[in-house]
Every structure is written in C-alpha cells, then in structure tokens.
C-alpha cells in the first residue's frame, strides 16, 4: 500500500481527478476560458502519449509526429469543406490517412537509425507541411476554416463545450489505457526489448523492423485522432500545425513529463502548455523564460518531472 501512495501516483491521481471534475469548476465559476484551454491541453496530451509510445517505449525518436495532427485535422477539414460533415465518415478517414502515412514514412525511415532517423522523420513531416501549403483549394498557407464541427447523428454534440471536453478526455484516457495494454503485451515486450538492446533481440529471433513499423503506425493513428479533435476544437486547420517546431513541442512534452512512463506525457503536456499560457499572460516575451527553463530541465532533471518525483521519494 505504501508503494501505491508514493508521490508520483498521488500526483497523477490528483491530476486525473482534477481533469474529471474541471467542467464542474468552470460551470460554477463561469470561467469558460479554462475549459477551452484544458480541452486543448487534453488533446495535446493524447498526441504526446502517442509519441511516447514510439519514443519512450520504442526508442524511436521521431521528429515528425506533428504531421499526424495535420493529417487528422485536414481529413476533417477537407471532408467538411466538401460537404461531408458526419464524424462517422470524417474520423475513420482521419485515422486511415494517418495510418497510411505512418506506414509509408515508417517503412522508409526505419531503415535508418539515430540522428538519421530523427532527420528523415523531420523531412517527411516538412513534406506534409509543404503539401498542405500547396493546397490552394483548401486554403494553402492561410489554412482552412471548419464551419461546422463533426456531427455524430445526435449521439454527441461537439458544439457543446462540456460534451466536447469529456469526449477529448475519454479519448485521452482510452488512449492511455490502450497504450498500457499494448506495452505489457507480447508486442509491447518486443518493442521495449528492441529499444533496450536490438542485437540481443535479433539474436533470440525477433525481426526488428516489422514490430517497429507496427508500433510506428499505431502511434501515428492515435495522433491522427488527436488531429481530428484539434481541428474540431479550433474550428480551423492550417499547415502551421505540422511545422517542425510543433513536433519539437510534442517531444518537449514527452521528455518533460518523463519518457516511457504511462502518465508522463499527460503531465508534460499540462505543465508545458500551462506554463506557456501563464508566462504569456505575465509577459509578451514568455519564451525568454521558457527557453532557459527547458535548458535547465535538461541539465538537471533526468527522467522528466515524474523521474524527479521518483527520486525525491527514494532520497
């Protein structure tokens, strides 16, 4: 029981409870801004969690993960612009498109290792960015406005802030649960083993590439879902969401929260985006503080926030 009560688990439990009860708080205080802010945070937490699957558990440092936010978003946006507003069509398309992109990019990129892998995933994401910029019909650089959110035949009303928030939260927790099951399954063991020592894994008989590819595709698909959610949240999608610095943001969230931990990306996303929000209210030049802060965290904080908490418990 003592183990369960360590600092990390307590904090995670509190955060989860807080997220669940947030709409209650905002309906009492009437502070709608906080609700929309946290909807955005929850969506990015899902994206970060999907990145953590390949980075933290799989050891694949992808610098192009934001591409899936764009692909999912544009799937929703383009279909909406063409008159197809049903979420039952838009979202599966978003997932399928993301999976396909991940399949192609993964098949090509996973032939490389280390910094080459980082760069090639970055390049593919930039390609997606430029493709989106070149779509004159769908706004190009200016982006695409989505006039009506995805409809689900009356099952759920995405225009209702509270309903939408809980949908995003459900996707986040569902995603984390799925990752938990995957990571502990046979498949997850192989992927983690490949991160730990690929030569050893090959020697005992595991073909590395196919397992890594499948993991890559799962992560990309999950992020595509986040992309569809994000497009609905902002009623807008533009190439900017795929720019490489956005992929950097996602990486920061994962590393900040603690790579390879289940709830780390969620904590990381919350801290990073809240910090960004708070700092930008204090000063227009919030990056002046955020930048060196990141630097300090890298220099002194191993394993992110959850890692730090773990050490505090032991020490």
């Amino acid at each position: 029981m003592k183990e369960l009560l360590d600092a990390r688990n307590v904090i995670v439990a509190l955060v989860v409870a807080g997220l669940l009860l947030l709409p209650l708080y905002t309906s009492i205080t009437g502070n709608i801004f906080v609700l929309t802010l946290f909807t955005r945070i929850v969506i990015f937490a899902l994206a970060a969690a999907s990145l953590n699957l390949i980075m933290g558990y799989g050891g694949m440092m992808s610098f192009g993960h934001a591409a899936y936010l764009g692909i999912g978003g544009y799937a929703v946006g383009i279909l909406a612009a063409e008159g197809i507003g049903s979420g039952f069509i838009q979202w599966p398309v978003a997932l399928a498109a993301s999976a396909l992109f991940a399949l192609v990019v993964g098949a090509l990129s996973l032939r490389t290792r280390g910094v080459y892998f980082i760069m090639i995933t970055l390049a593919f994401a930039q390609m997606a960015y430029y493709i989106a910029s070149g779509l004159a019909r769908y706004g190009g650089d200016d982006g695409l406005t989505i006039y009506k959110r995805s409809t689900f035949d009356g099952l759920i009303n995405l225009s209702s802030r509270v309903q939408f928030y809980y949908l995003c939260l459900a996707c986040l927790f569902g995603g984390i649960y799925l990752i938990w099951r995957i990571v502990n399954s046979r498949f997850g063991m192989v992927v983690q083993g490949l991160r730990s020592n690929e030569a050893r894994m090959q020697a005992i008989g595991f073909p590395a590439s196919r397992y890594r590819l499948v993991c890559f595709v799962i992560a990309g698909t999950m992020c595509g879902l986040a992309g569809a959610l994000l497009a609905n949240n902002t009623d807008f999608v533009s190439p900017a969401v795929m720019y490489w610095t956005r992929s950097g943001d996602l990486m920061v969230m994962v590393i900040l929260g603690g790579m390879g931990s289940l709830f780390g990306p969620m904590i990381g996303a919350i801290v990073y985006l809240l910090l960004e929000e708070l700092l930008s209210q204090v000063t227009e030049y919030w990056a002046l503080i955020m930048g060196p802060l990141l630097l300090l965290i890298v220099l002194f904080g191993h394993g992110g926030i959850l890692g730090l908490l773990g050490r505090l418990r032991r020490g």
């Binding site: 083993g193 050893r200 008989g205």
Partner: protein
Amino acid sequence: MADPLLRVENLVLRFGGIVATDNVSLDVAGGELHAVIGPNGAGKTTLISQLTGQLLPHSGTIRLAGADITRVPAYRRSALGLARSFQITSLLLDFTAIDNVALAAQAHDGHSFYFWSNARKERHLRRTALAALDRVGLGHRADVLVSRLSHGEQRELELAVALATKPQLLLLDEPMAGLGSTESARMVKLLQELRREVTIVLVEHDMDAVFALADRISVMVYGRVIASGAPAAIRQNEEVRRAYLGDQHAVTRHG
C-alpha cells in the same frame, strides 16, 4: 566425420584493408564441444558474428545441419536452432532476469503480434524461463533487474537466455570473461552438464576450462585456423605453442 552439424567452408571477411576472416574452414560434429582459441584480435568473435548472421562474409559458406545459412538474416537463424551468448554482456538491462529469458522463450512460441493480454502472465513462458534460470543456478534471482545482477550472474543469465530458445547449436563467446575462480568452476560444471544435450562451440581464453571441456580444439591466429584437432594434439603442435601457448602467452584463469 559423418555429416557435421556445422560446416564452415572457406569463409572470408574483409574490413577495408584488413582480412578479419582469412579462408576459415571448420567442422563441428553433433554432440561435441568444440573450442576455438587464439590470441586477442585473432578474429574469433568476428567468426561467431558471421555464424549468427550479425556480419555477412564476402565469400565462403556456412551450413547448419546441411542447410546453407550463409546469408540467412540473424533473427531467422535462431529459429533454425542457433543460439549465442555475447562476449560483452548483452542483455536487456532494464528488464528482470526472468523477463529476459521469457522473451527468448516468447520468440520461439509463435508470433508476437498480440496487443492486449499481459505477456508476463503467460504461464508456459514463465515456466520455461524459470526452468532455464534454475538450470544455470539463477532461479532465486528471477525477479532482479539485470542491471543489479553481479557480473558473474549476468554471464550465467546470458547462458540461460540462449538455452531458452532450445538450440541445437550453442555458440558461447567467452562465457567466463571476468569471472572469479568459484564462478568459473561453476560455469565449467554447468557446461559439462549442457554438453550432453546440445552441441557447443566455445570461444575462450581460460585454458584450464578449454582443456577440461573440449572434445576438439581449433586455433585461430590473424583470422586463420592454424590447427584443428584433439586437445592432446593441439598441446603438442609446434606452431600453436609458438603462436599462442608459448611462454610469452601463458594465459591462465582470469581473476
């Protein structure tokens, strides 16, 4: 001999200007314990890496039970019955001992595209893993993180991992490296038991162990096999004494 289990013929591997494997030919009969010895840099580990598929030779053939495996990818050779231990301990450090062995068992238990059930709860895998651990004497350390095991225990774990894949040919690359005298003795005893069940190719520097265990010995120097035969014959061989067993190169037990 009757069809050998492992037949290596004219294997050549070059790294830039260096000939790491210089026309190596070697036969290992089923059931024997064949030791490969030689000074550091002789190309023993390079040979093992070609046998396991981590390196591909430029020319020559490797046959396992008659089948040509020269260009078969590394992961496939394990299914064909080849297992190795690494010279520099190569385990999954952030997993427990039993996790490491269970993964090896998992690799030989069908595919691993199962995404839902907890792999650690698969009883038959855990049973096989525990059995292999008990075999090498690590049963009581099953749930310890590999990074927390002593060096000797890690070497033994390497062996357990290799055994869990139920190999017909075991390639051991300096299993006694860095072991103290008690641990070495334990390893020798273990290998004495294992040799009755599986064919072993043993690369070692520990001469006492080699002469105690080997049915036949091949000596490698500068990438070539300069002598191959029964231990007694090797001991007498002039060339071998000069190159390796001579006064300057008296190699005894480590530690």
